[in-house]
């Protein structure tokens, strides 16, 4: 059950600088996954790392979107059609089902696990507003995909880049006030750098908004048993990776402040 299932890579798309989207099929994952859940991706002989699922298609097709930040992700980004990876999962607790009016906020590859949620909303004609933040046009994934999705109703999709090379210049959090004042959201979903999430958390706490965020910690077992991924008394792999605002309340002193490395040592963020 918790054994990697080896899958052939069907297609690799360049998503942005150093970011690739990798397509493959895995029936077990695709038949069970809830947006926000993650899988463990095995690169034989090298590593096994947690990855959000950035697309769920027909015929068990899935995709992950990987940013090359180290050895394993670099290797993943270098794989070609026909190469193999192993996957196990899906694991963890995903996002709640969307409400009537939804806001989705992604920072960089943090948008990955939010993509299937957007796909779901669009498919089911549920109102969804998307904010995507990145460093620059070249470095921000999903811009084209989201533009294609949102072209018919452009007002719902906004991008910020730090250098202003696309969309508004600045941070995605800069747009919060405007969008939230104009709308009433049943759900706000966010994933991205933890400092961004912390900001969003503070904002939503103040305004009492129904936030859910997906967090990252060092994942080893992925099945809630090894104690590698604690954030407070929550295991990110089993109790998360998605946490609701009431849960975030309990770990607000850790959020954006502390993480743990592979040995369990506390590391300042």
């Amino acid at each position: 059950m918790h054994t990697p299932r080896v899958c052939k890579i069907l297609k690799v798309e360049s998503e942005a600088e150093n970011i690739k989207t990798i397509y493959f099929k895995d029936r077990r994952t695709s038949s069970r996954i809830i947006p926000g859940q993650f899988i463990m991706v095995w690169i034989p002989g090298l590593d096994e790392i947690p990855m959000g699922v950035s697309h769920t298609g027909l015929n068990s097709e899935l995709a992950i979107t990987v940013e090359a930040v180290g050895e394993a992700t670099e290797k993943l980004c270098s794989l070609k059609e026909g190469d193999v990876i192993g996957v196990r999962g899906p694991y963890g607790r995903g996002f709640s089902p969307p409400g009537l009016n939804n806001l989705i906020i992604g920072g960089g590859t943090g948008m990955a696990p939010l993509m299937p949620l957007i796909e779901l909303c669009v498919r089911e004609k549920i109102n969804v507003n998307v904010l995507l933040g990145g460093r620059s046009l070249n470095k921000t994934p999903f811009i084209k995909k989201l533009r294609d999705i949102f072209n018919p109703k452009l007002e719902c999709f906004k991008v910020t880049t730090e250098d202003g090379s696309y969309g508004c210049r600045g941070f995605v959090t800069d747009l919060l006030d405007e969008i939230i004042s104009k709308n009433s959201f049943d759900r706000i979903y966010a994933c991205g750098p933890e400092l961004m999430l912390k900001k969003i958390y503070d904002y939503c706490t103040e305004k009492k908004l129904p936030l859910e965020v997906s967090l990252e910690r060092y994942i080893k077992c992925g099945i809630g048993i090894c104690g590698s991924c604690y954030i407070g008394s929550y295991r990110v792999c089993a109790d998360g990776p998605v946490f609701k605002i009431a849960e975030l309340e309990k770990i607000r002193n850790i959020l954006g402040e502390w993480t743990r490395d592979s040995s369990g040592r506390l590391i300042q963020l």
């Binding site: 192993g86 048993i225 090894c226 369990g264 040592r265």
Partner: protein
């Protein structure tokens, strides 16, 4: 009336269900939660003097009715771990510090640091099948030396965790007791391996790992039974594949005074209360008052 009280020598426990080392007992908040969820005590992740990152992933993989792991004893080192443990001990959680090291002095140092922060005992991990420390528990002389040295250096009870990966577990158990062990934990995981037939790669980055879960229960019960039947007279903590109250009872009947659970926590924390409830129900139904009445009774049934 508490039907489940038990004692490991001078250690008194409210209930016999202890959380096994390496399974979620890695941080203060994790340890506290496990206690809140009903554990009688919590063993920490095995701790060494300096921090260890553990092996690269994959570190776990499923097997038929079991789990194979080779975490590689990742831990933040005793400096940081003792802070976590201190916080739990302060709040009254009965914590057992799991100790390992690459030298006798490291074992002693880690054990003493645990003692300083108020653990109820230390458990010497000389039995990890995928670690060098595992070699200690496969050798009578090394076992004696390590146990004796730690025993001479701390006042709290010293529990020794044994490996099934030996020709004769009783021999090692006797050696540990001769060196002063106050209790024995049996068993650590069984050395195993899984190969992915699609690629030919051993799945674990470390190739070999330790098998846990229901698959090893018959091996663990056998070990507890063998030790209890021997001249060893210290309390035994049974561990290996316990996932319900009947499993726990099997170990008690084989001679364990307490049990540990690890892999079955995969199914959620509620397994702790479920096992306690099942055991209490069994005690009531059979009009038993104390666990002593069932501990080791299999040895009288022949």
């Amino acid at each position: 009336m508490n039907f489940l009280e038990t004692a490991l020598g001078s250690i008194k426990l409210d209930n016999p269900l202890i959380i096994a080392s390496g399974v979620l007992g890695t941080t203060a908040e994790g340890i506290k939660l496990l206690y809140e969820k009903g554990a009688g005590a919590v063993v920490t992740k095995t701790t060494t003097l300096s921090s260890k990152p553990g092996y690269a992933n994959p570190t776990v993989v499923s097997t038929p009715s079991g789990l194979l792991n080779s975490m590689g004893l990742p831990n933040p080192g005793i400096e940081e771990m003792s802070r976590e443990v201190a916080s739990a001990c302060c709040e009254g959680v009965p914590v057992i510090g799991s100790v390992a090291g690459s030298s006798i002095s490291e074992f002693i140092e880690v054990a003493k640091r645990f003692e300083d922060v108020g653990v109820i005992g230390v458990e010497l991990n000389i039995s990890c099948p995928h670690e060098r420390v595992g070699l200690i528990g496969q050798d009578c002389r090394l076992t004696y030396q390590v146990v004796k040295s730690v025993k001479d250096s701390v006042k709290i009870p010293v529990i020794v965790k044994l490996t099934p990966n030996v020709t004769n577990i009783v021999e090692i158990a006797l050696e540990a007791v001769k060196a002063g062990a106050d209790a024995l934990t049996a068993i650590n995981t069984v050395k195993g391996m899984v190969i992915d037939v699609n690629t030919g790669y051993p799945i674990l980055s470390n190739k070999f790992g330790g098998l846990s879960g229901p698959a090893i229960k018959p091996i663990a019960v056998r070990c507890v039974y063998e030790i209890y039947a021997s001249e060893v007279k210290v309390p035994i903590i049974g561990v290996g594949g316990i996932s319900n109250w009947r499993d726990a009872l099997e170990f008690l009947m084989a001679g364990a005074c307490a049990v540990q659970i690890g892999t079955s926590l995969m199914k959620g924390y509620q397994v702790i209360e479920k096992i306690k409830k099942g055991l209490t129900g069994y005690m009531k139904k059979n009009k038993l008052k104390k666990l002593n009445q069932i501990i080791g009774i299999s040895h009288k049934r022949c």
